[in-house]
Symmetry: C2
Subunit: 346 residues, 2 copies
Amino acid sequence: MPENITTNHRATIDDVARYAGVSIATVSRVVNTTGQVAQSTRERVFDAIAALNYTPHAAAKGLASRRTNTLGLIVSEISGAFFQPMLKGIEAGVRAYGYDLLIHSTPRDHQGHASRYPLGEYNTDGLLIFTNSLNEAEITRLYQTGLPMVLLYRAPPPGLEIPTITFENKSGARKLVDYLIEQRGKRRIAFLRGPQENEDSYWRELGYRDSMAAHGITVDESLIGDGEFDEYIARRIVNEWIKQNLTLDAIFAGDDESALGAYAALNENQIRIPQDIAVVGFDDIPIARYLSPPLTTVHVPIEMTGCVAVDQLMRLIRGGNADLLTLLPTELVIRRSCGNKESATP
Amino acid sequence: MPENITTNHRATIDDVARYAGVSIATVSRVVNTTGQVAQSTRERVFDAIAALNYTPHAAAKGLASRRTNTLGLIVSEISGAFFQPMLKGIEAGVRAYGYDLLIHSTPRDHQGHASRYPLGEYNTDGLLIFTNSLNEAEITRLYQTGLPMVLLYRAPPPGLEIPTITFENKSGARKLVDYLIEQRGKRRIAFLRGPQENEDSYWRELGYRDSMAAHGITVDESLIGDGEFDEYIARRIVNEWIKQNLTLDAIFAGDDESALGAYAALNENQIRIPQDIAVVGFDDIPIARYLSPPLTTVHVPIEMTGCVAVDQLMRLIRGGNADLLTLLPTELVIRRSCGNKESATP
DNA sequence: CTGAAAGCGCTTACAG
DNA sequence: CTGAAAGCGCTTACAG
């Protein structure tokens, strides 16, 4: 040992350099494998690193290199069926690139006030933005700073070229309604749509209308309900339908949450699923298969969505160009709520 | 405007200082409200900040102040019923303190190799550690660096004084089994315990045994099954019990996941819940109320657990002392799976 | 109440 | 292949 360094605190690049008898520039080159370093020198540096238990200091590294090695994720809230699998996919992707992940959930009331925003160019190399967690003005502002970003489940504000990741909502809904009509003989199919600004809902409704039209069925607009993708609101709507004595033979809940509401309303009125009315949802949330009867729905690859988003973002960060739109495939999952004969798997 | 600064990139503290006609030290004092600054000066600085849309650079701040303003969370994986509500609580807490949150999920195979660990003294001011996401050796190492940390749902390695947050598993289990015995007249109560090293399971089993003993019932050890807190393993165990023709009038699944397995096994054998056998769980996961019949279980305040953990960690970070053990209360939730007459809420 | 200056731990041209 | 040195954007004694 060249020296007896006994700082009681963390080793710095200086300590390593002194210990190995080289300059800090060389240590930096070894650590980051940037530039040529003689094999023997490299080994001495590695020994020093091991002996001193050296770990580079993230903030210093970030300051000097003008990179943070951190990706930011902005979500509207940490809950909902989407959050967990999406985060899982994102985390896996982020780790694969050796990056860190900073998460921020925007309180509903946060509206701009630019200089205080907790995630941005100063602490991340790029941003993943979940649906409506950020308004258009904020997205535009960030975009103009040149910060790479990728949107999840939403289109960019007009004119901005920001990659978007989502899944095939329209064709998924189309397949689902096709199935109800062709295989189950349904014709009076109600639709519970989501919030006005929700793009998933928008495309699902389009798929529904396409299917109906393709089969020559006129959509009865009184069978379109604003379920808001909310269990309790959906329940109220379906209860109203029942009270009004509307004839319908199937309910297409725009998401599984509202399907829960439909189940509740039908149960309350002793209307049997699927014997009296079929119910189908969208998303395939974990609960779906445990309901009685198990819910027919469309499976969406949420986790993969997170992975792909990170991939695209990294391409941007590394100066490449990303795909403006990535549509991940969805899959029809037939369970008993639409009347088939498959056995339950509780 | 004193000057016409047209850097095409982010404003720095220098820009602000020049614009306001003060030193960077003064800007720093205004921004961080540290030290006295004349009212008029402060206003000039604020104007400059607004005009230049200045945001402090996190990495530089961290470097200079030797703080990161970031908390780290280590989890074993981003899934499981605990993760989401826990993270929600943590995020809320972290934001309340104006901190950032860095999340890292440890791959199963990660074993030490100290110098490469992605979360530590160099990028966080403190760590939240979820159950067994880190082994004792790693925890000990981090502890010795002096990094503040708090454990969730696990005790510290012997000899280390690290605050732990968990809930009243034992008394929760005790209340639950008391109820089965006293209100439902059960006596042959099987128990599906969790993994060996799982501390929640350990305490729940103790609560179970306490209750049995208190009511003069000898525990039949053949009715203790290693369900591993896993739906499919639990299902297999219960199927074995049925095959062996064991008499039992209730199953206490150590967690709701294993209760799902019990449900499946009983269903497969046409054994009715609760008429033939009562089933109860622990945790009150979201699915619990949707099962048929809805599951009687013990509600655990997971989200609050996250908040409290952040509070304790911040006390440590700020140099105060935290509570070594925080036990959050649990609550019995009676539903139909143990045979009461309450109506379903599907 | 304010400023000059050292220093935080790195990276990165630049020169050799 | 290697080193000296400037510089990243801040904070914080220290002086006044």
